[in-house]
């Protein structure tokens, strides 16, 4: 792709600016490292789910299962393997990223195998099947983790000191993971593969009849989405100092879905903007109105969905801006 062509559209520019802003905020200590890791986690999970839900149109309601699976895989890897654990504080934390790749790979494999039967289902049936997957994985973890080691009481793994990493190293790993996810989103959206996914989301039979290998594409996008979600779960688990069954909580999926929907489904910019808005609202409300934050947040989300069913970016795409259709610019 031509470099000029690349920057004519604002999405790559926006991605670049976002990455630079986070880096500056970190270097100048404008926000705490924890805050930055959390915001990258939030935007990241929305963007990861976007690959299957936004592009292919399959709402994976149990998607939090991949946070859980990879979170546990990562925690077990560094708990039991001293070499991995020691590596985490070397080379500026880049090894954390590679261990997270491994943990994400396990989620991708699970998604691939489960996807073969489950992606034959459509709409609500697919969503319910993925919820089933989430519960199944949760109960397997609850049953087997305590058997592994009596210290894992209640399936909770608290990472010992040797298996913890410095915050700065966790930040580096999260930053690379985050950049990878949003850049991947953009590249997928602009590729033939992405066009095929969009055609699937609009009319799957029509897509298949025109030569889009729908079964293969759905599987790849589900596995990719699970892979990225898993990587985030792994790094986030490390940041929290351990994992517990809360990672499987469906509330995480609802966050992801809401972020995509308020931003605008089917685009890259949508979930990116939506997750930033959602996170800032969520965080501000939590601090200012600790008792009512979810009530107010729920109300705001309902209003947005009611008046902008295609999200914030969705309202803009029909409008004109300086003689150009905003739709062309945004996507």
């Amino acid at each position: 792709m031509d470099i000029d062509e690349f920057f004519k559209r604002p999405t790559p520019l926006f991605i670049l600016i976002l990455l630079i802003v986070i880096l500056i905020a970190k270097l100048l200590r404008l926000e705490t490292t924890d805050y930055l890791i959390t915001i990258m986690f939030f935007i990241g999970i929305a963007m990861a789910l976007n690959i299957i839900m936004g592009f292919a149109g399959y709402v994976s309601f149990g998607h939090t299962v991949f946070l859980g699976i990879s979170g546990y895989v990562f925690a077990l890897l560094v708990y039991y393997n001293r070499d991995f654990a020691n590596l985490m504080n070397m080379y500026s934390g880049i090894p954390i990223f590679f261990i997270a790749l491994l943990a994400g790979g396990v989620s991708a494999l699970v998604a691939f195998l489960v996807g073969i039967p489950v992606l034959k289902l459509k709409g609500a049936f697919f969503a319910i099947a993925t919820i089933g997957l989430d519960f199944a994985a949760l109960y397997i973890i609850k049953a087997f983790i305590p058997i592994l080691n009596p210290e894992f009481f209640g399936a909770q793994i608290i990472l010992p000191a040797y298996a913890l990493a410095y915050k700065d190293n966790v930040f580096v790993a999260m930053y690379i993971t985050f950049a990878l996810i949003i850049i991947a989103n953009y590249l997928i959206r602009r590729s033939r593969f992405g066009m095929g996914l969009l055609a699937i989301s609009e009319d799957e039979d029509a897509a298949e009849a025109l030569g889009v290998p729908t079964t293969k594409y759905k599987l790849i996008s589900f596995a990719l989405s699970a892979f990225f979600t898993g990587m985030l779960g792994a790094v986030f688990g490390l940041n929290s100092g351990g994992v517990d069954e809360n990672l499987f909580n469906l509330a995480h999926t609802i966050d992801m879905i809401v972020m995509i929907v308020i931003g605008g489904i089917g685009t890259v910019m949508g979930p990116l903007v939506g997750s930033i808005i959602y996170f800032i609202l969520y965080d501000t409300l939590l601090v200012t109105y600790p008792e009512f934050n979810l009530v107010i947040l729920g109300f705001i989300v309902a209003v947005i969905v009611l008046f902008a069913p295609r999200g914030v970016v969705g309202i803009l795409r029909g409008k004109q801006f300086m003689g150009k259709k905003l739709r062309d610019i945004i996507e």
Binding site: R192, M195, G196, L198, A199, E202, D203, D205, A206, A207, E208, A209, L210, G211, V212, P213, T214, T215, G266, K325, D328
Partner: protein
Amino acid sequence: MALLEVKDLDTGYGESQVLWGVNLRVDEGGVTLLLGSNGAGKTTTLRAITGLIKPWRGEIRFMDRDISTKPTHERAGEGIIMVPEGRRLWPDMTVYEHLEMGAYTERARNRFEDNLDFVYQLFPVLRERRDQLAGTMSGGEQQMLAIARAIMGDPKILLMDEPSLGLAPSIVIQVFNTISQLKERGITILLVEQNVHMGLSVADYAYIIENGRIVLEGPSDEVSQTDLIKKSYLGI
């Protein structure tokens, strides 16, 4: 030479059988018509040819090879392209994106420019509307776009499922004019219709299907003279 052959095809949905031993042959270069009333099995036949449903018995041969087990997208890759019933456009994509997506397969991408020129010549309105979202176009324009999208797929055989359905009479005439133009360009067409008059006027050869069985076949001028057509379909 037979481009497409359907042999002793039985198929259906779930446990209910729809097609009973259907035999069909489409020769290269002409328009073959499959005529029948609602529920006779026309669309099911097309779905079996494209692979959206699997045959229970019998086979589907394309260019002298059995393609019965190939998935739909591979059949599209070989040049079996359908204009689906009810158009099945992607409402949120632009006209131009439909044309791009139409040329999704390797084969079609190599002939993209040629086919695009032909499509614009056939439907100049699509050139003007290239940035319009498909969902905001009129029914007639949508049907043109559905046909254009299929042509972009560089069909060796074009399957058209009731292209006149739900359109105003003047647009129906336009659609059949288009079919004649496609025929002149040498595109082989299998046309499924309920519109007996228009169907028979454009076709070279016709099959009549009733209750999942082929009950009559022949050159279309002969078929139009038979008692069956006169009584059941034209009401003469």
